[in-house]
């Protein structure tokens, strides 16, 4: 939902970042307002996953210039845990398995860290179980998964549902979902997308990072951005995703070549 007067939640300006010695992001600009759903599309290696990790504060990535503000606050100064607590959520492309850490306990500690930041009371074990059982419905997840170790032995679809469950518990204001559709069959995709749609509202925003159009059949974006060579090359409405699906990414190369020629 586009409302020009809605508050800006995330403001990315001329963001440059590298991993080890390799520059990946080369000037990303993006403004996200409350209520909006954005999709960033692009080929493998275009920098879209790096963008998600930089926003979440992954230690392997170094920001070399540019800025990111979240509700006016300099996001890049904050530790990953602090970003999560104030409402920035990253749904992982490959959720990490953590043997020996109970999923239920993990979800409770995470939820309480967010609640504490919001000035809410921490939930004890019983109150949390009530909450989590209610939120399980968002992704139609079997409660048995709460008793297991975090993501251990989960199928690809179960891991992604667990990500959306975390999102449902943490109630972020900006949710960045990195290739949430990868590795999902049609049924799982429908459930996961249904969860994301349920959680989207006028006060929060969603940034979908995806390779394929099919996720966007299930979640309708307000804006589609095409990323290439570390920046956003073109921005449009949902029809841009359809155009990409039809024409492929070859035209992106042509535009890049044209840009390079201009610079030269």
């Amino acid at each position: 939902m586009i409302r020009p007067d809605a508050p800006v939640l995330l403001e990315i300006r001329d963001l440059h970042a590298r991993v080890e010695d390799k520059a990946i992001l080369k000037g990303v600009n993006l403004t996200i307002r409350a209520g909006e759903i954005h999709a960033v599309m692009g080929r493998n290696g275009s920098g879209k996953s790096t963008l998600s990790k930089v926003l979440a504060g992954h230690p392997a990535y170094t920001v070399t210039s540019g800025s990111v503000h979240y509700r006016g606050e300099n996001l890049l100064e904050l530790d990953p845990e602090q970003r999560a607590r104030i409402g920035v959520f990253l749904g992982f492309q490959y959720p990490v398995e953590i043997p020996g850490v109970s999923n239920l306990e993990f979800l409770r500690v995470a939820t309480n860290a967010r609640r504490q930041e919001q000035g809410h009371e921490e939930l004890d074990t019983f109150a949390f179980e009530d909450l989590v059982r209610e939120r399980l419905k968002v992704v139609q997840m079997d409660p048995a998964f709460l008793e297991r170790s975090v993501n251990e032995g989960f199928s690809g679809g179960e891991k992604k549902r667990n990500e959306i469950l975390q999102m449902a518990l943490l109630e972020p204001l900006v949710a960045i979902l990195d290739e949430t559709d990868s590795g999902l069959d049609i049924d799982a995709l429908r459930i996961v997308a249904g969860g994301v749609n349920q959680l989207a509202n006028a006060d929060n925003a969603t940034l979908l990072i995806t390779h394929y159009q099919r996720l966007l059949d299930a979640i309708t974006p307000d804006y589609v951005h095409v990323m290439a060579a570390g920046r956003i090359l073109r921005t449009g409405g949902k029809e841009l995703a359809l155009e990409l699906e039809e024409r492929g990414y070859d035209w992106v190369d042509q535009e890049l070549a044209a840009l390079a020629a201009e610079v030269a």
Binding site: P59, D79, I98, G100, V109, S149
Partner: protein, 414 residues
């Protein structure tokens, strides 16, 4: 020249000479054993880095420890669970003096002790190991118990000691299909040396579930030999957890006398500061179709040092043995050190023997995943460390489990 003169006097240790000179005269039921042990200590040098089995483990801490007899201290423990017998055991007084023994548990007679004592140590090829001789020299009594056929017994042995020397010796006979749940605590509450020798003989079909929790401090050392003889169809699960000792050396040694038994070994040792923890395990299959399932874990922080050596012997008679050994180590500091080594001797040709070792620090991806959900870096590291340890802790018998929360282990380690 007699061997005793060939060895450099310093190698035996002036501290040990001084103790041998002033120790009370050998007396009581173990007088002969004590005399032999003291003679052995006089004859033989203390192990040093030149001995392969002690290559990584510096014993110099021992020379600084007080060796007067330790007095018992109180351990802060939860109430004993119903049906279990808890015994405070310091090695000198008779721990069963005022105790009514539960059905199925009896003391061994003097004749039975004379017959059984040392048998399992010899079977496990360790009766002349230096720490065993030290125990021989020092231990005044043996706690000798039988679990009668088809009985089920839960026993808790608590040995908390103030400053000094505590020497504990235990002899267990489990008759056919007897079952014993043994939770054991050794806790140092002062500087000192804690010596433990256990012999357990399991008849056919017997089951021993033994959890040893050993909580030390920087100026205390633990030297423990846990020798087990298993007849076919018997099952042993030995889980040991140690933390805090300036020096801890554990030697679990299991021999399947005719194969066809099941041995499960679990170990967790935690070192921080400049502490050393060393586990040398030994499992021998003397007949076919035996099984071993072993997991040893270590957490090394500060400048701590962890050593694991896992010997497994599978001679020709031990066809169709199935043995798996895994050593997993968590390195929390770049100044800590971990040495881990499997030592497999396999002669039989139709066997499955797997072994593996990993040494890693906390995984960046796991930490980041937890942090990205709002969990602080320290808390995330704590959760991951807890998960690492929990895999061993959860295998302890219930009573032993209740004695060693991870917090308590970490507190002891630091």
């Amino acid at each position: 020249m007699p061997a005793s003169l060939a060895a450099p006097a310093a190698a035996k240790g002036a501290w040990l000479d001084a103790w041998l000179a002033t120790a009370p005269a050998a007396s009581g039921e173990l007088a002969l054993v004590q005399q032999r042990g003291r003679e052995a200590l006089r004859q033989r040098p203390m192990p040093s880095g030149r001995d392969e089995d002690w290559r990584f483990t510096d014993l110099s801490l021992l020379q600084t420890l007080p060796l007067t007899a330790a007095s018992a201290a109180a351990a802060a423990l939860p109430e004993v669970s119903s049906g279990a017998l808890r015994v405070n055991w310091n090695g000198s007084a008779d721990p069963l003096a005022d105790q009514a023994l539960p059905a199925g548990l009896q003391r061994l007679s003097a004749d039975e002790i004379a017959q059984g004592l040392g048998h399992t140590l010899a079977a496990a090829s360790c009766e002349q190991h230096w720490p065993v001789e030290l125990n021989h020299a020092a231990a005044e009594r043996v706690l000798a118990l039988r679990v009668s056929s088809r009985s089920q017994v839960s026993l808790e042995l608590v040995s908390a000691a103030a400053e000094g020397l505590q020497a504990l010796r235990l002899l267990l006979l489990l008759e056919e299909k007897a079952e014993l749940d043994l939770s054991q605590l050794i806790e140092a509450q002062g500087a000192g040396l804690h010596s433990l020798v256990i012999e357990a003989h399991l008849a056919r079909g017997a089951q021993l579930r033994h959890g040893l929790v050993a909580l030390g401090q920087a100026d205390a050392a633990l030297l423990a030999h846990l020798a087990i003889e298993q007849e076919p169809e018997s099952q042993v699960q030995l889980t040991s957890v140690s933390s805090g000792w300036g020096l801890a050396r554990l030697e679990p040694r299991a021999v399947q006398v005719d194969g066809a038994a099941h041995t499960t070994l679990r170990g967790l040792q935690m070192v921080d500061g400049q502490r050393i923890a060393d586990t040398h395990s030994f499992v021998e299959f003397k007949g076919p179709e035996g099984q071993l399932d072993q997991l040893h874990k270590a957490v090394a922080a500060g400048q701590g040092r962890s050593v694991f050596n896992g010997a497994v012997r599978v001679p020709r008679a031990a066809q169709r043995t199935n043995a798996a050994q895994l050593s997993r180590n968590l390195l929390l500091s770049d100044r800590a050190r971990i040495d881990t080594k499997p030592e497999l001797e396999i002669v039989a040709d139709d066997v499955k023997c797997a072994h593996g070792a990993t040494v890693s620090s906390l995984q960046t991806d796991e930490l980041f995943y937890l942090q990205s959900r709002g969990i602080g870096a320290d808390q995330a590291a704590g959760l991951l460390q807890r998960a690492f340890c929990e895999e061993v802790l959860r295998e302890l018998p219930a009573a032993a489990r209740s004695w060693c929360s991870l917090e308590r282990l970490l507190e002891a380690a630091a």
